[in-house]
Symmetry: C2
Subunit: 148 residues, 2 copies
Amino acid sequence: MSLEQFGDRWSLLIVRDMMVRGYRTFKEFQGSGEGISSNILAGRLKTLEAAGILMTEPNETDARRVNYRLTQKGIDLAPVMLEMLIWGAKYEATAAPCGLIDQMEKGRDQVLAETRRRWRERDSTPLIPRFDEIPQDTSTRSNERRKG
Amino acid sequence: MSLEQFGDRWSLLIVRDMMVRGYRTFKEFQGSGEGISSNILAGRLKTLEAAGILMTEPNETDARRVNYRLTQKGIDLAPVMLEMLIWGAKYEATAAPCGLIDQMEKGRDQVLAETRRRWRERDSTPLIPRFDEIPQDTSTRSNERRKG
DNA sequence: CAGAATCACTTGCGAAATACAAGTGAATAA
DNA sequence: TTATTCACTTGTATTTCGCAAGTGATTCTG
């Protein structure tokens, strides 16, 4: 069943990075900071492709590159990811920036619509730039609570 | 971050079984049909407890038994689980029974409220009895679609 | 009350998955 | 034309996993 699909350390992370950070190439995943080794990454990308969650397409301007892209099945994981990000922001120390998480909880459907729009239009500007602590507009942050 | 917490084959499954199938004891997890070995199960339960997602309490009537119970942090994973079940029902062959999934998509908040109510009141009657195909009221089933 | 069964684990060990380092071949940049 | 980039492979050591069996405490059975 669906949970078994993601029963490894990297698959969910890859999907998340594609969805909210706009990653498309092998190299971007590698440099993602979480430190996945290249052989494992290659394997996971293959598995996820076989599962119909992502697909590859050649890069038009550079023949060395391969562009990875979520399928419909893949982008349909957006609600799952969103809820995970919200949960993570509530309970884990270094999660996504606070302002955006607040926005997610309030305007769930709107954030989802925006995520889907980006996917449709191949807009790969990240929804969330980084997941570590980010200095931003401090007036709107409300993430100092821990353990709900 | 939060995704790393669930970067293994069993943790999410354990949380799901506690949440929607009402499992509480070691033995129930073992007999769950998915076939987790007892040493791995013991390890995962310990890890999840250390992460504050579940807790143990002694069984009042039988001193051999230990009751596992989700914490607030654990039950807050309900929205994630719900979205996963919905996604799984849409794309995977043998997911939860169809009628309930339909209900989930339509009455998301209501299903969540019921899940939380059960947790609060220690009502461990399963929300979803089994995850394999279940013969039920065929007039309401709408799960013949695949790939959205 | 003695022996069998149940429960929640633990231990040992072979098999599989994983991480790390290095390398490969094609394409592009300098 | 040489160096570099990119998307991977290939080896190998380490870690994790799965299976079978065992342990100690508790409870059921005759």
